[in-house]
Amino acid sequence: MARFIERHPAWALIVIIAVAVLLWLVFAIWPPGLEAAIGRKRVFLNAVLNGITLGGLYFLVASGFTLIFGLMRNVNLAHGSLYLFGGYIGYAISTWTGSWILSFIVAFIAAALVGVILQLAVFRRMEGQDLRQTMVTIGLSIVFADLMLWVFGGDFYQVQTPSWLIGPVQLPLLTAIKSSGEPVYLQYPLVRLVIFAASVVIGVAMWLALNRTRIGMIVRAGVDDRDILAATGVRIQLVFVLVFALGAGLAGIAGVVGGTFQSLSPGEDTRFLLASLVVVIVGGMGSIPGAALGAVIIGLAEQLGSVYIPTYAIVVTFLIMVVVLALRPQGLLARR
């Protein structure tokens, strides 16, 4: 942090000012002039919170993607299919048993199993051959999409939100003060907050596992130099399978999350593959904090864009990607 300020004083100043403005926008009561210029504070706060919670969902999908890429250097273009598959499994379980929590566990296991099979049957056979892996995973994603269309049809499914999560909660954020002097607090959907909190917990747990445990150490060593790690006697193939299972399982969980606050239908697989590609490119391939940063940036861009410049909202996401690729092609938080 201090080193960053020393090296880039101008950038640091800009960042500090931006953070200060953001904090003021979130916590202060907006003067009437500002409300007239850019709309009500409630709308702004909602868009910011929506962007962050949507970022939570993107993070869940992209973290698995980036983990797999970081360790194995293979771009798994069937990652979106794992997302959709997990979502459908979660839907089936939640309608069958009525349990929302159980649907996460089963979706994680099911998607992780598919991941293990993918790793053993496909990636292991073509280690180090990027182009072949890419082509095969594109092919697989098309096959998976058709299989899922066959089983689940073109209908859209929604995972039922449990009744204790339906409805809004009051947040301690002032949006306005009524003429009677009574403060108006922000109402926000509880389910989104819970899901965001869960993705933060998962993110922190992943960071701890990677940086504080033995297995994490092995994974990090593998990211740096696979061959030397294998030469030291670590059973690298086993590590690969575990990491692949974890990444795929996270995509499965994300599918249930996506099915809860959005919906599941054919085409969602490619949408989330694209989203995670953008997130990972912005954040930096192979970096978990990068995936988190990228996810929040993309989520915010989508939501703020859809409120303030609805016509061009879709462009904003890709504009960010283009700018990052032009100025910092390795991604914002990539080490190399």
């Binding site: 709309g39 409630r42 709308v43 909602n46 868009a47 929506n50 962007g51 919670t53 949507l54 073109g154 209908d155 859209f156 499914y157 929604q158 039922q160 939100t161 339906i166 409805g167 809004p168 109402q187 926000y188 959907p189 509880l190 389910v191 989104r192 606050f261 959005q262 919906s263 239908s265 054919p266 085409g267 949408r271 989508e302 939501q303 703020l304 859809s306 409120v307 609805p310 016509t311 909202a313 879709i314």
Partner: protein, 416 residues
């Protein structure tokens, strides 16, 4: 081996069914949105089409109809691609296409490049399709989005007492046309439309759109369909929304009213207008509902046909009846068929339909209100039936032309 036996079967069927082989086929290409946001709409459209075939049969004199289905995703280029494939690869002679608004405009323009073929619109409802530079070989037996909103504005203003409303709609031609019809009538009656929000077709995350809904209005009009509508309602419920709602023709429709989950309950009491009403007591409508229900097992259909099923039924019916009038004669660039199509009046399940000079339907419209049948199923109940709705919505054509074409901002909220 498999190939060999297939060949054998084909050969034997050739030998044993000499008469069937001699029978001439009329090939008809059908498109529906079987992918993307409007999948459910396309599927039910095809059910309506199938119901029409079950009721009317496929025989035209001594010829038989053969249908080839192609899938689209509600984008204009997917529709043109599907239609082109049907014409060039499958050699169809007649098209029953397309389903969605933007597709309709594109297919109408494409129809001009094939003046020898006949195009019967399946269900699309953008105004521009038949109002601006219509194609002489394109026939539409359903009303457009604006016609489908007739009666709603007045009902909202006079009976419900709404004075100020805001609209949320998908950003494409059909919804522009729907909002056009609504705004003309509501503002004409003296109401105000304070805000029009447009979201891209296929939006998943509506949370910010919901947050931006104004709260100083009497009602919010929703012009959404398919997956978008379900996503919106789901997130609206999560956000605890409680405003009065008004609905467009594909928002208040069985495609949404029979979706899974409890989010749809926000729609109970919502007023809407459409080319049909689920609980209409007219015997022809009831007969159609029965035919639809009998054609499919209960878990493979909606409790009652959606607007799309009704439109596909009507257009298939018009085509078959016209073909029978000319005894399947497609000679001379299908001139006789086109003539018959232009003149035919059909007793569609949702009222009498005839075409105007632009080959656009003049039909019956329904103002409805969503009710719960007591067992958790939602239906649209008739409030008012308005016969003989034409494309200029009863306005003098010269005045109507001055309003401009439906778009994000047209028409202005005033009395024309």
């Amino acid at each position: 081996m498999l190939k060999g036996s297939l060949g054998l079967i084909a050969l034997s069927s050739l030998l044993f069914s000499g008469t069937a082989f001699a029978q001439e086929k009329i090939k008809v290409g059908v498109t529906a949105t079987l992918e993307g946001t409007y999948t459910v709409l396309g599927e039910d459209g095809m059910r309506g089409h199938q119901t029409a075939l079950n009721v009317l049969g496929k025989k035209i004199g001594d010829k038989e109809l053969e249908f080839i289905v192609a899938s689209t995703d509600a984008t204009p280029d997917s529709a043109v691609r599907a239609v082109r494939k049907l014409i060039e690869q499958d050699k169809v002679q007649i098209l029953l296409s397309p389903l969605s608004g933007d597709e309709g405009i594109a297919v109408k323009n494409f129809a001009k490049t094939h003046p020898e073929l006949t195009f019967v619109n399946a269900a699309s409802g953008a105004q521009e399709t038949t109002y601006v530079d219509p194609a002489p070989n394109f026939f539409r037996y359903n009303m457009d989005g604006a016609q489908w909103q007739v009666g709603l504005g007045k009902y909202a203003y006079e009976t419900k007492g709404y004075r100020k409303i805001a609209t949320v709609g998908e950003d494409y031609s059909f919804i522009y046309t729907q909002v056009f019809g609504l705004v003309l009538e509501f503002c004409g009656a003296g109401g105000q439309v304070t805000n029009r929000q447009w979201v891209p077709l296929g939006t998943k995350d509506f949370a910010s759109v919901i947050a931006a809904l104004p709260d100083d209005v009497d009602a919010i009009y929703l012009g959404l369909g398919g997956a978008d509508a379900v996503n919106f309602l789901n997130q609206y419920q999560q956000a605890g929304g409680k405003a009065h709602l008004m609905g467009g023709s594909i928002m208040i429709d069985q495609t949404i009213l029979s979706s899974k989950g409890s989010a749809k309950n926000a729609l109970i009491g919502t007023i809407a207008a459409s080319g049909q009403a689920d609980t209409w007591e007219d015997p022809a409508w009831q007969k159609f509902v029965k035919a639809y229900q009998d054609s499919f097992p209960e878990n493979k259909r909606f409790p009652s046909p959606s607007l799309l099923a009704t439109n596909y039924y009507g257009s298939t019916m018009a085509l078959i009846l016209a073909l029978r009038q000319v005894n399947g004669d497609l000679s001379n660039n299908q001139a006789k068929l086109k003539d018959a199509l232009a003149k035919i009046e059909i007793d569609a399940p949702n009222g009498k339909i005839k075409l105007d000079a632009n080959r656009q339907a003049i039909g019956t419209n329904f103002v409805t209100e969503v009710v719960d049948d007591g067992k958790g199923a939602l239906f649209s109940k008739v409030v008012k039936v308005i016969p003989n709705v034409n494309q200029t919505l009863g306005y003098d054509p010269a005045v109507f032309a001055k309003i401009g074409l439906p778009s994000r901002t047209v028409p202005e909220c005033k009395k024309y």
